[in-house]
Subunit: 299 residues, 3 copies
């Protein structure tokens, strides 16, 4: 129906609403049933130029659950890169040893460059602040599982709108569907860059001390959290700028869900884990099924 | 018969004599026959918070020999831990990506905490000086293979009774069986802590220079060696305190076996490798079958 | 026909012309057809005492494509070696956990020592400047694919004859076949050591500025390039001594192929990648089939 074989997965932008729904449906099938022979004899190359436990292990688990082998690295010191090899040469070599490349790199556009360089499919597992389509897809899959829909949702993004890739992907993904309203709650200097804004999105710039009240007034279906990276916190001596606790959650509608791509630090109190709609660990598990679906589709 | 599915393997204490014999019997089956499809589609997460070639590689080999995939780390620098993620968050995430967790951690009780945190089975691969049940089981398996019994044995533990986990496990394991006599041969300051002593065990505090004569007089069935970690050797300028050589072995009964969990340094001379009852390399191999049995049982 | 099961693969010297052709034929079969069940339940141990993306990932991919599991390390810091374990103890342990050992080590003779130490087969993946038989076999496989023969070839090796293992292997490999003429083009101080010279080989010592003309005059079938390691480049301030560009290639016969084991740095301009007979990336891919063949043969 949809052509996925051999395709690169670079950005959520490249997928139509129908294609997204198709991927989610396949992920749902993988959630129900393990297919340990589907990718037997295939090799997934995971090229992580910066560490990411969650994403790397998730792709590795997904590949092996489908019977594929895994090669690659998450520690650039142990590779030929040390010997001065170029990014593109490494890619070409790894492409010759594998059937699909999963790449994480701190530079914007690195996955696109990878896709231009090699003929096998490339999956972008994060290129700096830019794209991370499997994260966006697992977010959508998680929302769909809870609400049985991907439209008519009120979503509060809370944190660093300026740099946080996960938020950029959520705006893009949710805007493919009808009538979603997205609010970016952030301090003044971390507003959403204009290139990620659209008609569904609205900045809500606040003093983060007022966060609990702002959320209570907004009554969102979804609170999507993310770290404010340490390097963007004003002044070294200041404490972290906000924290979601059970106090925050108690003031929200009872069916509001709390999402977080993890890892978390101070912005999400572990007390919230007890809250039935705190679904961030389930979210991580959903990533497994989405990544199985993506690997299966492109191979 | 015995309920193992979903169970945590935290300490040899948790197993009855009958359960131990059952595990050894299954290990023996795995030694005779490879089962490359038994755990197909399953994922084993190996979380090594401190390096351990032997144990990590052994679990990884065991898992893959049964057809399972392996994820995890043995280098905490490359994980999200660097970003400040909590121990329990890492565990919850890894549990969502896998079917069983194998954990090695320097802190006592870390495996118990892991088991409380996640719902999938946890196998303790060493928590500081405390427990390392697969090591104890492979020691018992090795003894059983040689002597065709696990009772009526005279065992000389030689080394650091105070800190050495392997000895603590051997006392616990051998005391499940009848009539075993265990002697802990050590220098004064490295005596067995009271919590690991029992009626089967007796300290034999000696000047380690008298080791050869002490062992010759004792006539043990088993000499179980272990390192005295460098940090416990008195004075930086002093040489290692004892060394088992062929001279030692020649004075022992001809059927006495020499065990060592490896790696060895100065305490066990490579000359002893020629001795037919030097079974420490066989011991390492036996670990593979024990770990296959444990993974198969809990999954 | 030929006895390979259980055999060590230490040096190209150990193989007859007929055995080499047999290995290449099997590699060709693996190129045509994936065999994901051939080595099911087997474990390949990869012991990389120095980093090598290409070779390590290639063996890992080859093993997994045949259904085998992979254990090992490419970072000696995370192993028991840190605790002071001897090279031979590590080998004996790893041999007990696996079915074949693939070893890379900076010291000459380390693979031979490994083969003497353990009873399972050992594949030498490079011991310093000495041997790297799978590299030589993939070079021969690549040449055979292009020219449909392994004799009557004129080959120009360009670079560091003194230290570069790949060249030493190519001389040995090509000299098994009839009528090959090999020219080692190098600066004065990097001439071929006498122990690698034979009747097929001839030094062509030049000022590397004259490289283009020397190659044009020679009209070789094959130009085989290799790095001059930085530590052998005279003077820190001097630029790299030579560079093959499209200018070089244009002066060569139209069917001359360009080989390079990669990684490359300055000695091979990326402009050459467009040249149809620039086959170094194909060469890397061929390594996969050769390594599949070697693993299958010894197991």
């Amino acid at each position: 129906m949809y052509k996925f074989k051999g395709r690169d997965i670079l950005s959520i932008k490249d997928f139509s609403k129908e294609e997204i729904l198709y991927i989610l449906k396949l992920a749902s099938k993988f959630e129900k049933k393990v297919n340990p022979n589907l990718l037997k004899g295939k090799i997934v190359a995971t090229l992580f130029y910066e560490p990411s436990t969650r994403t790397h292990q998730s792709f590795s688990s997904a590949a092996q659950r489908l019977g594929a082998g895994v090669i690659g690295f998450d520690n650039i010191n142990v590779t030929s890169i040390k010997k001065g090899e170029s990014f593109q040469d490494t890619l070409r070599i790894m492409a010759n040893l594998s059937d699909v490349i999963v790449i994480r790199h701190p530079n914007i556009g690195s996955a696109d460059l990878a896709a231009e360089t090699v003929s096998i499919p490339v999956i972008n597992a994060g290129d700096g602040p830019n794209n991370h389509p499997s994260q966006t897809l697992l977010d959508l899959y998680t929302i769909q599982k809870v609400f049985k829909r991907l439209d008519n949702l009120k979503v509060a993004l809370v944190g660093d709108m300026k740099h946080y890739r996960t938020f950029h992907g959520q705006i893009l993904g949710l805007s493919k569907f009808l009538n979603n309203k997205i609010y970016g709650i952030c301090p003044k200097r971390l507003e959403m860059p204009v290139e990620f804004k659209n008609k569904n999105y609205q900045d809500v710039v606040i003093n983060m001390k007022d966060l609990d009240k702002t959320l209570a007034d907004l009554k969102p279906d979804i609170v999507s959290l993310g770290r404010i990276p340490k390097e963007y916190i004003k002044g070294n001596s200041r404490k972290f700028e906000f924290r979601i606790t059970m106090e925050t959650v108690k003031k929200l509608p009872s069916n509001t869900i709390i999402m977080h791509p993890l890892p978390r630090i101070d912005e999400l109190d572990i007390g919230v884990d007890e809250y039935p709609n705190a679904i961030y660990f389930q979210q991580a598990k959903n990533g497994l099924y989405i990544r199985e679906a993506l690997l299966a589709l492109v191979l």
